[in-house]
């Protein structure tokens, strides 16, 4: 049971993230939702690489014992880097949107789309 807790956390993070993206009106909150989904997926990847009582996969001067898998960690790292780029891009777009429309409410933005 104790080893299922990370997976429950993954499911919870993804669900909360999806909830935020779908039901929140503020663009910033949507972005927060996306980052939550992303952390959920990253947590899932990291959890896959864990083995019971394993040590960090550093080769130099390591003590005896099994290592946890390094590949999921590399994947997670790549995913985090991509996430940073996406986050920066989304925030800069939000700055531009706020400048043009003076609002961050998705529904009001969708209405402006109709009027023009």
């Amino acid at each position: 049971m104790i080893y299922n807790i990370p997976f429950i956390a993954v499911a919870a993070l993804i669900m909360i993230g999806l909830y935020a993206v779908i039901f929140k009106r503020n663009l910033i909150k949507i972005v927060i939702g996306i980052t939550l989904i992303e952390s959920g997926v990253n947590l899932f990847l990291i959890t896959l690489g864990y083995r019971e009582k394993s040590i960090a996969p550093i080769h130099t001067g390591n003590p005896e014992g099994i290592m946890s898998l390094p590949v999921p960690q590399a994947l997670t790292l790549t995913s985090i880097v991509i996430g940073v780029a996406v986050l920066a891009l989304m925030l800069s777009l939000i700055i531009h949107i706020y400048r043009h429309y003076g609002t961050l409410d998705v529904r009001k933005l969708a209405k402006e789309e109709d009027e023009e």
Partner: protein, 118 residues
Amino acid sequence: MITWESFLETFETGSGFWNPLIWITAIVIAFLVVYILRGYGKKEYKEKTEQIKAFLSGNPEYEKEKMHIKGSNVYWGFTESLKWIYKALEKMHTGNVSDYILWFVVIMGILFILVGVI
């Protein structure tokens, strides 16, 4: 390797075939025939008379610019008769990011029930 003959081959589609070169030849011949037939027509068209004016049941002719049917009016009848579909479709296209994701989740759920559970 690609040979020159392979350019001319007919495209077999299983139960039919399609060769654009033959088709073009046929079209060109048809145009030639039409052109020749056109040559037999009368040449009685008179410029600078009433003949060149448009006749709109006696109504005065509009300005040229107003005569042009605008883009959204072209299929007015079609869109009017299918209003019920368009109402639903417009309801669907809200232009709201959250709704886009909602559709994604809905489709994912349906697929999950169809593929995963069955």
